[in-house]
């Protein structure tokens, strides 16, 4: 039982982070608070993917050492961390900032038109 908890508690912490972002997205009234919640949610998902790549037991960074780079002996795969999720998450971080910029632009536009950032006042003004 204790071994099960030690093997899995990292995933539970990531899920707690994800749910904090989700709660802010669906429950907060202010638009900037919703965008902050979206940022936390995306960061938690990227954290989950990066943690998949991690290998216990002495694995190093995904950069070849000098001995391996010159082909002196066969490369052992368990020595290096899995590089593929890192590459996909580099793309995801840049896309995250792009969505953040568009969301903030829409929030500024709404403020120019309705002079408030609260969601219920905007809905009241729309009616």
């Amino acid at each position: 039982m204790l071994e099960f908890i030690i093997g899995k508690y990292n995933f539970w912490i990531y899920i707690i982070l994800m749910m904090i972002g989700f709660y802010a997205m669906i429950s907060k009234n202010n638009l900037i608070k919703k965008i902050i919640g979206m940022n936390i949610f995306q960061t938690a998902i990227i954290l989950f993917y990066v943690s998949i790549a991690y290998k216990k037991g002495g694995a190093t960074l995904p950069i070849l050492t000098d001995a391996d780079a010159h082909g002196e002996h066969i490369i052992t795969i368990a020595q290096y961390i899995n590089p593929l999720p890192h590459v996909l998450m580099l793309t995801a971080i840049v896309v995250m900032v792009a969505t953040l910029g568009v969301a903030l632009a829409i929030a500024i536009m709404l403020y120019r038109k309705y002079h408030t950032l609260e969601e219920d006042e905007i809905i009241k003004a729309l009616k």
């Binding site: 990292n10 912490i13 707690i16 982070l17 904090i20 972002g21 709660y23 802010a24 907060k28 009234n29 202010n30 900037i32 608070k33 902050i36 919640g37 940022n39 936390i40 960061t43 990227i46 954290l47 990066v50 943690s51 790549a53 991690y54 694995a59 190093t60 960074l61 995904p62 961390i81 890192h86 998450m89 580099l90 971080i93 840049v94 995250m96 900032v97 953040l100 910029g101 903030l104 929030a107 500024i108 403020y111 950032l117 609260e118």
Partner: protein, 81 residues
């Protein structure tokens, strides 16, 4: 019993996330979000994803915070929740 290093950073990250969505001032919330991004970057560097950590520190904690502050300067920093 020694506490592992990553557990300490994870606790800090959760505290920063809860503080960022509960504080009643938007500029403080954005600043706490920047601290959250830097703790996340530290966690990724500890996991061995150095390229992702560099990108997070420059793009998300730098440009993201600047975008947030620029948006707050054009709107307001007051909030009800």
């Amino acid at each position: 019993m020694t506490i592992p290093f990553d557990l300490i950073i994870q606790i800090f990250v959760i505290i920063c996330a809860i503080a960022a969505i509960t504080v009643r001032d938007l500029l403080s919330a954005v600043m706490i979000l920047g601290a959250y991004s830097f703790f996340m970057c530290l966690m990724w560097a500890q996991m061995g994803a150095v390229d992702v950590a560099f990108t997070e520190a420059s793009v998300s904690a730098g440009i993201g915070t600047i975008l947030f502050i620029a948006a707050l300067m054009k709107t307001t920093r007051r909030t009800k929740d």
